[in-house]
């Protein structure tokens, strides 16, 4: 028996007086606001490495969204996800703020100038005196790294058929994707995706529906996406698939240590409501991938559509701090980051090193709540990282929760360790 198995068995044999009370609900203890410290890690963060499973997933029709009559931006009756025993402040459930590090590395961006890191974030359209912003519970968040949006293969098949129909195609065949898991010496297969071969008059597509709710379509032939006219035509084709009436393109990118620019294309639904527009940009955007087999392709080959608001449950509009207040907190060291402390100069974060600010919603599967953060780009010390071509500069990303501290139950402290 392995040591951890022996420990688990031994825990079952401890003094019965230590057994927990499982059938009662305790009250929340007093609030605590903890400040994060800069972490110590090694290499650049490359996206989230793990995702989480949710034991309870509600159907989209049951969700509270900003579009439903009983909830949304400015709504007075927030939904709290059916939770009991959750303490509220002014009628709003307490939430947490935190960064889940998805892998070895930190969030940093390289470019020759800060202007190259423009990303199309529409947050400046929100009036600076906005006092409250919506917060959502991430229904797909869970700790077991197996997010479930579709309950069954049949649900995934229906989603694939709908996607094909939106592309003007029909499903010709499907194939379930599974991964093997060894549990207690028994190999079992777990359904993780369904891939559908589709075809229509205009071409063919490989539609892939993941268990976690992402639907992608790999298009043949690819869609020209270089000139303004081509982009407009492409968005016309893709908008039906994405469900957008008025799509906006947001292009962003940063450079690698050799100076090569890597760009990302996002598409989201425009809105007259600037808050809703930011939410669409952060929480409900889709990604486009260019043709890659021939180097820097100009055509779009693949489009990804995420669950968006179907995976989020509106909690309420939370009072927020201003940009200036967030900046002051950053300078006092009250922030969340994965950036190593030794990448900053000796005097740490100073006003002149803050080159860019934006408001974002962190909405990955590793975030328990979709909530607003001020995101600061801080210029790291010159010469970091070693080996980068001359003239490149690295900006570290630092977050300050926008929700006022009294609504935050706790901010986990990043202690700089990797397990």
């Amino acid at each position: 028996m392995k040591a951890n198995e022996r420990l688990l068995a031994a825990i079952g044999e401890v003094d019965p007086r230590f057994a927990p009370e499982l059938l009662s609900v305790k009250k929340r203890p007093a609030l605590r606001w903890a400040y994060a410290a800069a972490g110590i890690c090694a290499v650049l963060l490359i996206g989230a490495a793990a995702v989480h499973q949710m034991g309870i997933v509600r159907k989209p029709a049951e969700l509270l969204t900003p579009d439903s009559p009983s909830s949304g931006v400015g709504c007075e009756q927030p939904g709290i996800g059916g939770r009991v025993g959750v303490e509220t402040v002014n009628g709003l459930p307490l939430i947490t703020a935190g960064i889940e590090s998805g892998g070895m590395g930190f969030e940093g961006m390289m470019a020759y100038s800060i202007d190259e890191l423009e990303n199309g974030n529409p947050w400046r359209e929100i009036p600076s005196d906005t006092a409250a912003l919506p917060v959502y519970e991430n229904l797909l968040y869970d700790e077991l790294a197996q997010p479930v949006y579709y309950d069954s293969e049949e649900d995934m098949r229906r989603a694939a058929e709908e996607a094909a129909e939106n592309l003007g195609m029909e499903v010709l065949s499907t194939e379930a994707g599974t991964i093997g898991e060894i549990r207690d010496t028994t190999l079992t297969e777990r359904l993780v995706s369904l891939t559908a071969a589709c075809a229509g008059e205009t071409g063919s597509a490989k539609v892939r529906v993941s268990r976690a709710g992402t639907i992608s379509a790999e298009l043949t032939p690819s869609v020209p996406f270089e000139t303004a006219e081509e982009r407009a035509a492409a968005l016309g084709i893709l908008s039906t698939f994405l469900g957008y009436r008025d799509a906006v393109i947001a292009e962003s990118g940063d450079r690698d240590i050799y100076g090569e620019m890597n760009t990302t294309l996002k598409v989201y639904e425009d809105s007259d409501d600037p808050v809703r527009k930011l939410l669409n940009y952060c929480a409900a955007s889709s990604r486009l991938a260019r043709v890659s087999e021939n180097g820097d392709g100009t055509d779009v080959r693949t489009v990804w559509k995420e669950p968006g608001f179907d995976g989020l449950n509106y909690l309420g509009d939370y009072p927020v701090i201003t940009e200036d207040e967030a900046r002051a907190m950053l300078l006092k060291g009250e922030y969340l980051t994965t950036v190593p402390a030794d990448t900053l100069p000796e005097d740490g974060i100073t006003e002149e090193r803050i080159d860019r600010t934006e408001l974002v919603y962190r909405c990955s599967l590793r975030d328990e709540y979709a909530e607003p953060y001020y995101r600061f780009y801080v210029r790291l010390r010159e010469g970091f990282p070693a080996g980068a071509v001359e003239g490149l500069q690295t900006w570290g990303v630092y977050y300050v929760p926008a929700v006022r501290a009294e609504y935050l139950a706790e901010v986990p402290v990043w202690d700089g360790r990797f397990n």
Binding site: A3, N4, L7, I11, L22, T96, D142, E368
Partner: protein
């Protein structure tokens, strides 16, 4: 019925002990069984088997706190059933996650020393704050998810995660012979 009265029924070999146990602790044990086994029928069988195991154990045992005594039996029965299961159940996921987390404290290599883990754990648990101990036991004794623990204690899942991480670090130090603090 008080625990002592139920234990007395067992000692008298009165089969009402089984009914009384199921009435008072059936739900408690079912929570543990369901956390480990996703199949409702399997979980129910484990709970039913718990009373029979207890019948065979009392006497000679005279447990002072039946929740822990019955819960431990259910836990072991459910883990045994999970190990024997031909098809790993979805509920096995939480056990796997717990094992991975505990590997942080003791690793996965076969232990060669003769540390009496159970006694060491009893001593270690006695050093923890009640809150940290409760969270630790909910996780590794009753196999509750972080979210369930958070809801039960009225705190956030992040706070549960931090508490578990801290306690595992303390446990690692303790098992390595270092001092631990509350």
């Amino acid at each position: 019925m008080e625990d002592a009265e139920i234990v007395a029924l067992y000692w008298k070999r009165d089969e009402d002990a089984l009914t009384a146990s199921a009435d008072k602790y059936g739900s408690y044990c079912a929570v543990i069984a369901r956390n480990i086994l996703s199949d409702e029928g399997d979980a129910e069988e484990c709970v039913n088997d718990t009373w029979l195991r207890a019948w065979n154990a009392i006497p000679p045992k005279r447990p002072s706190r039946l929740a822990g005594f019955f819960g431990a039996i259910t836990r072991n029965l459910a883990l045994d059933r999970l190990r024997r299961s031909r098809a790993a159940r979805a509920g096995g996921g939480i056990v796997t996650v717990c094992l991975e987390e505990l590997a942080e404290a003791v690793g996965e290599e076969d232990g060669t020393d003769e540390i009496d883990l159970r006694d060491a754990l009893d001593r270690f648990l006695g050093t923890l704050t009640p809150a940290a101990r409760d969270i630790f036991m909910r996780r590794y004794w009753a196999f509750q998810t972080e979210r369930d623990i958070a809801r039960a204690r009225g705190i956030t899942a992040g706070a549960v995660r931090m508490s578990l991480s801290r306690t595992r670090t303390l446990l690692k130090r303790y098992l390595n012979g270092e001092e631990t603090g509350k």
